[in-house]
């Protein structure tokens, strides 16, 4: 042992150091965001109280600035590979980076008034969001176990803090505690799986792991490693039976953060899952597919069944988000017959559209909460009278979530069903049937909210004057509305073709 270690040290000692070639353009989005986050921190430290009202704007601008190199890279079109294939910037990664930056921007818009008017107006909130989004950008490009692990923790650790943001509120404390304990436990399990993978294959790069496992064939210990890694990501995407933290955390956390967890954080979990399953376990579908099939079927069914019983809109959206995660998992259960590109395209399409419609629904809830001060569905009665615009918007987002044309949601569901049915395999078709039944069940509770808004009379003593919505929230609503509308109509055709770009 001692001799071996000395041998390794001697080896390192002799190897000449070669400076790794770094493609600065490829990592420009991350660098811009890192520099911007550092600048916001320095700005805050210099001006303290006086500078506070500029922090949200500065953070938003940082996200938009980081979007510029993403666009130039997309225009450039070449897939770039850094550090011997451990960090790859291809179009698949770029779509996801744009998604993360835009959802980050929308969440900053949603947070601006909520934080400024609340008791806990701290600039650190925005710095933590920047850090978390930075982790997501890294995650989109990581093709290496170490990169994926560090990115996942960079996403999660700020989120634990933000979930407990309302310091003196016991519910928020509890939300943070549950999320933190579950999340840390999940990442520990995932790490154990990763350490086994590393040991069995001798490399941390996903491509090398893939070919090494293919050479060795399937052994019980590889199966165990794969299952552990998928369980770890299952927590992050709140797949049943690892979803128990989600509704509690969603209800207790500040509402903009709930949107953040339900959309951005979940999307990042999916990206990690896709990268690992499709890159590293490409040749082990016989282990990964049945497990994901079970997760997917359980997630959509349980999520929907519990969502029906909810009386609080935030909890309802939380459980509906769990169910939506089930639809997103479905293409990963049939990647063998379709090829990994088709499955990845369907998931990415779903993620983008889901982000837009779910963020939109949360923005409506936040706008309505300025009047109702509660998230109960009953308090939405008669909303048509005091906020007709919001009622129409909520209807559009809910129709989209239910998958009714011509809004974005139907196209996302269409892509999933297409992938499930293409191979005409038993697992694909059975999962498609389960998903179809679940879509009908889901439509029921979405329509219930609409019934309350359109047809029920407002309870006695409700303020009937028109609701004023602050401009950042209007901007957030506008962005999400546009994306939800165009992805379902004019962009659906081009998107269908563009997903072929996503080829790894």
């Amino acid at each position: 042992m001692v001799a071996t270690l000395l041998g390794i040290l001697a080896q390192i000692e002799q190897a000449p150091f070669v400076r790794p070639a770094i493609d600065w353009h490829a990592v420009a989005p991350e660098l811009v965001l890192l520099a911007g986050g550092a600048l916001v921190t320095v700005f805050d430290l210099i001006f303290m109280e006086r500078g506070r009202k500029y922090i949200p704007t500065l953070t938003g601008l940082t996200f938009l600035a980081a979007l510029v190199p993403v666009l130039t890279l997309w225009d450039n079109g070449i897939a770039r590979s850094l550090f011997d294939g451990a960090y790859i910037t291809d179009r698949y990664a770029l779509v996801l980076k744009a998604l993360f930056l835009l959802s980050g921007y929308v969440i900053v818009l949603m947070s601006t008034n909520y934080m400024a008017e609340g008791d806990y107006y701290d600039s650190e909130y925005y710095q933590l969001i920047s850090a978390s989004i930075l982790g997501m950008l890294v995650m989109a490009s990581s093709r290496d176990l170490i990169g994926i692990f560090v990115a996942l923790e960079l996403i999660s650790i700020p989120a634990y803090l933000m979930a407990a943001w309302r310091k003196r509120d016991l519910k928020s404390n509890e939300a943070g505690l549950k999320y933190m304990l579950m999340g840390v436990f999940a990442s520990a399990i995932m790490l154990y799986g990763m350490s086994l993978l590393y040991g069995l294959t001798g490399d941390t790069k996903l491509r090398s792991i893939s070919s090494a496992i293919a050479d060795q064939g399937t052994t019980p210990i590889i199966t165990m490693a794969i299952i552990f890694v998928i369980i770890g990501f299952g927590f992050k995407v709140s797949a049943v039976p690892f979803h128990t933290w989600a509704p509690d955390t969603y209800e207790g956390a500040p509402t903009p953060l709930t949107a953040f967890l339900a959309v951005a954080s979940k999307a990042a979990g999916f990206v990690a899952l896709m990268n690992v399953v499709l890159y590293a376990f490409e040749f082990q579908p016989e282990i990964a597919e049945p497990f994901i099939w079970l997760l997917s079927a359980a997630t959509m069914t349980v999520g929907n069944l519990i969502a029906i019983r909810q009386t609080n809109v935030v909890r309802l959206l939380a459980y509906s988000g769990v169910a939506q995660a089930g639809y997103m998992l479905a293409p990963l259960a049939v990647y063998e017959v379709n090829g990994i590109e088709a499955s990845a395209s369907a998931v990415v399409t779903y993620l983008v559209i889901y982000a837009a419609m779910n963020l939109g629904a949360f923005a409506v809830i936040m706008a309505a909460a300025r009047r109702t001060r509660s998230g109960e569905i009953d308090s939405y009665r008669g909303m048509l009278n005091w906020a007709p615009g919001l009622t129409v918007l909520m209807t559009i987002f809910l129709f989209s979530l239910a998958g009714i044309p011509p809004f974005g949601g139907w196209f996302a569901k269409f892509e999933v069903f297409r992938v499930l049915l293409t191979g005409n395999t038993f697992s694909g078709v059975s999962l498609a049937v389960i998903a179809a039944v679940n879509s009908v069940v889901a439509a029921f509770y979405y329509l219930n909210i609409m019934k309350n808004m359109w047809f029920m009379d407002a309870p006695e003593g409700t303020d009937q004057s028109k609701l004023k919505i602050p401009s950042p929230l209007v901007a957030a609503l506008a962005i999400t509305l546009i994306v939800t509308l165009v992805t379902g109509t004019v962009l659906a055709g081009p998107l269908r073709n563009a997903t072929d770009f996503l080829a790894f």
């Binding site: 650790i157 634990y160 509890e174 943070g176 549950k178 840390v184 001798g202 941390t204 509690d248």
Partner: protein, 99 residues
Amino acid sequence: MLLNQFLGLAAILFCIGVYGVLTRRNGVMVLMSIELILNAVNINLVAFGAYQGDVGGQVFALFVIAVAAAEVGVGLAIVLLIYRNRRSIDVSEADLLQG
């Protein structure tokens, strides 16, 4: 090279950690159990790395150590917050929100 002994030790640590997370009701004890799992991971990584003559495992272990410190820092801060507000860190008493 004794690889199996290291892996066995790591597996035992892992099981103790998982048992602790599932049975302990004290927030700090849960965090300590998670630390046990992370240390099992580190033993695995370093043992595999040495066995294969590859430094990747040790680099991975360094990252795990650094990130674990950040996790525990945040975790203890949240547990302390709960203690300040309700004078108890019993996880089972945190039941205001019912999933």
